[in-house]
């Protein structure tokens, strides 16, 4: 039998790695792989309408499942169109493998048609990348790519495959090496035992401890261990934006999201704690505000799989490098061994409950106008107890969902936190729907964000992906406008979307359903009707108050507790 070609090896390797879905867009430099993909019984391909959409879909699929997302695009513009989407996955450490076609090796460097240095263009936004030089490198690099993407701190990996590595057959005597071993890449899994003992002793003796966790707990499948630790020590829990859904929001230990638009009690808990037990967070500037004023009295215990995240922004007094699930398991083991148990923390909880009561989330209710928060609450109320996934775009609506929705199960909240990519939410919802066809998949978006990737309405029609899109439509770029309103003398430079399409007719033009609502009295029924149309993609265009603002809002340069709580205080 003849040896397989490079393109055949791509498909075989992907099948062998368990890939079931691949999102992409063809072109001349990737046509051979597409041709082989047609023969595959095990991999189904989703043709997006833009390469950025394809990679966001693969990203949404990965976030909703924990599997490695996989996308396939052509060289040149195909590859450059994916850059924002790769950077989005990189920003949130999402496992993704992107296969890009490339011009033949002999043409590389000649400015050939649709040639771009994909490795060079993507280098700062990938965990790693490969350029195949010979057909036999194709299966090897693909296996390494999946291994690198899905281990340690996860992230996107690009495999660039020139056309002349796709068509030729594997050389004579070719034997595939299926094990991946990389001498230069060995992520730490288990934490240092001595450090873990120190960490747990510190936690057990703290009088005002707080546990903060981030997206790594979800990506690292460590939610159960986290919950057990919280219960054993009766710990107050706060989350970053990326950690939302990793711990049930209805649990009494949960204080909510911290940071720029964090919940009052959560930010106060941070500021007043004496021990901060941080799991899989990277202390982004939106979390810490001014690092010099961050947790001024706390001993910081920091667990992270990425040693470079430890003491990068916030100095860790007790660093522990390792996988969140493994290390939290070790922490629980250490508690048993050392007979450590938490105290009641009565005084601390009294203080925290005081914070909760002092300033729960609230917003004004002007007559006759729908507030964006109302929409989030209306959808949330109808979905509780059901199987759902929620994606967002970026801006005010994203913060309202983070504050008001109330997530209970890991992976149900999907958002671009690190990079903050407008246009992410809708294709990510399509990817999540691909992964969970029976679940309700909701995309909360704004009229600004939605127009950045709305071409994927065609993809959703073609592949029957009946997601529900709630556009919190205020005809402005709300978050930027909020800053202009508060800090730029209401000079609304370039934030007014004076013209928007008729989103209902837009939905209809793509063969979907559309509902417009502007009367507060009709909001509930519109939400109900939209969610009831199981087999239809529905755009619900909700006209909301353009003057709504996200509060709490931290004063830039202040501490965690420097918060503006309402417009009157601003």
């Amino acid at each position: 039998m003849e040896n397989p070609t490079g393109a055949q090896m791509v498909v075989r390797t992907l099948e062998d790695l368990g890939v079931e879905r691949i999102f992409g867009y063809p072109g001349a430099a990737i046509i051979d792989i597409y041709d082989e993909l047609m023969n595959s019984q095990r991999i189904s391909h989703v043709l997006a309408r833009h390469e950025q959409g394809a990679v966001h879909m693969a990203d949404g699929y990965a976030r909703a499942t924990g599997k490695v997302g996989c996308a396939l695009v052509t060289s040149g513009p195909g590859a450059t169109n994916t850059v924002t989407a790769i950077a989005t996955a990189y920003g949130d450490s999402i496992p993704l493998v992107l296969i890009t076609g490339q011009v033949s090796t002999g043409l590389i460097g000649t400015d050939a048609f649709q040639e771009v240095d994909t490795m060079g263009v993507t280098r700062p936004v990938v965990k790693h990348s490969f350029l195949c030089k010979k057909p036999e490198e194709v299966p090897k690099f693909l296996r390494q790519a999946f291994y690198i993407a899905s281990t340690g701190r996860k992230g996107p990996v690009v495999v660039d495959i020139p056309k002349n590595c796709q068509t030729p057959r594997m050389p004579e005597g070719f034997v595939e090496q299926k094990d991946v071993s990389l001498r230069s890449y060995n992520p730490t899994v288990l934490g240092h035992k001595g450090q873990i003992k120190r960490a747990m002793t510190t936690l057990a003796t703290a009088r005002r401890p707080v546990l903060i966790y981030g997206g790594g707990v979800i990506q690292g499948e460590a939610c159960a261990e986290l919950r057990e630790l919280v219960e054993r020590f009766n710990l107050p829990v706060v989350t970053t934006l990326m950690g939302i859904s990793g711990f049930p929001s209805s649990d009494r230990h949960f204080l909510g999201m911290v940071g720029m638009h964090g919940i009052y009690a959560a930010n106060e808990a941070l500021h007043n704690c004496d021990a901060l037990f941080a799991v899989a967070v990277r202390f982004d500037d939106r979390v810490t505000n001014n690092v010099k004023k961050f947790c001024p009295n706390a001993t910081v215990i920091h667990i992270d799989v990425d040693p470079a995240s430890i003491s990068k922004c916030v100095h860790a007094d007790i660093p522990v490098v390792g996988d969140a699930k493994a290390v939290l398991g070790q922490c629980l083991g250490a508690c048993d061994e050392l007979h450590l148990a938490g105290s009641e923390l009565t005084e601390w909880w009294g203080m925290l409950d005081g914070f909760r009561k002092a300033h729960p989330l609230s917003y004004p209710h002007p007559q006759g106008l729908i507030m964006p928060q109302d929409v989030v609450r209306a959808v949330s109320e109808r979905l509780q107890g059901q199987d759902y996934y929620v994606t967002t775009d970026v801006g005010q609506h994203q913060m309202f969902v983070a504050q008001y929705f109330g997530f209970e199960r890991p992976r149900t909240f999907i958002t671009s936190g690190g990079l903050g990519t407008m246009g992410f939410g809708f294709p990510a919802a399509a990817g999540a729907k691909m992964a969970h066809p029976k679940a309700q998949v909701i995309c909360f978006t704004g009229d600004g964000s939605f127009q950045m990737n709305m071409q994927e309405l065609s993809t959703c029609k073609q592949y029957h992906l009946p997601v529900k899109i709630f556009i919190l439509d205020n005809h402005v770029l709300g978050m930027v406008r909020q800053w202009q309103s508060l800090f730029y003398d209401q000079r609304y430079a370039a934030t007014c979307l004076d013209f928007n399409p008729d989103f209902v007719r837009l939905a209809e033009a793509f063969g979907h359903q559309g509902i417009a609502v502007s009367d507060p009295a009709e909001l509930d029924s519109a939400v109900e009707r939209a969610l009831a149309m199981e087999d239809e993609l529905v755009i619900v265009d909700v006209r909301v108050n353009p003057d709504a603002k996200v509060f709490p809002m931290q004063r830039v340069g202040g501490s965690s507790e420097d918060m503006i709580l309402s417009e009157e205080e601003a």
């Binding site: 490795m119 060079g120 280098r123 700062p124 965990k127 790693h128 990348s129 350029l131 030089k133 690198i148 990389l182 001498r183 230069s184 890449y185 990425d306 040693p307 470079a308 003491s311 990068k312």
Partner: protein, 167 residues
């Protein structure tokens, strides 16, 4: 503070650009850099001279470690035994007059530099030394004659004593 970092990494295309890219991407500074394969031709060794306080250097080494191609990273100055650093300097200088030739030759004698190429008007001088010595020699030559061209190799470093760096 000036620090010398040694990096062992896979000798693959693109590996060097990841290292260099990391420095510019994260706002670290490269004073100079040298790179070449080691005794094992699948492994390259890079020496980078950088500036920064201990926090910055720790951050740099952690980020370098994170690169998938990078096998080992050490800060040579951190070793208690210290390290040996050398740089090669080539100078093309005016030596058209008898007086200039004598002065340059005299200076080379004092600094133990070699004259490796001669034309009726020019000398090429080769000097090997620690970076500070290279600076001093360069200043001395500039004070003596016109320097037409300067080439510095960047620093190569190795630890002193028993300590070795292997892949």
């Amino acid at each position: 503070m000036r620090r010398t970092i040694s990096i062992l990494l896979e000798n693959e295309s693109g590996a060097l650009s990841r290292v260099v890219g990391l420095f510019s991407q994260r706002g670290f500074n490269i004073e100079n850099i040298t790179a070449a394969p080691t005794e094992n031709d699948t492994v390259s060794r890079i020496t980078i001279l950088t500036k920064g306080d201990s926090m910055v250097v720790e951050h740099i080494t952690k980020q370098l470690h994170k690169l998938v191609n990078v096998i080992k990273v050490v800060v040579l100055d951190d070793f208690p035994e210290g390290c040996i650093e050398r740089e090669i300097l080539f100078l093309k200088v005016q030596a058209a007059t008898r007086a200039a030739r004598d002065e340059v030759q005299c200076l080379c004698g004092i600094f133990r530099a070699e004259i490796v190429d001669v034309t009726p008007d020019l000398f090429v001088i080769q000097y090997v030394g620690e970076p500070d010595e290279v600076d001093r020699f360069l200043r001395a030559v500039r004070g003596t004659t016109d320097v037409v061209e300067v080439v510095r190799s960047g620093v190569c470093g190795i630890s002193r004593g028993e300590r070795t760096l292997h892949s």
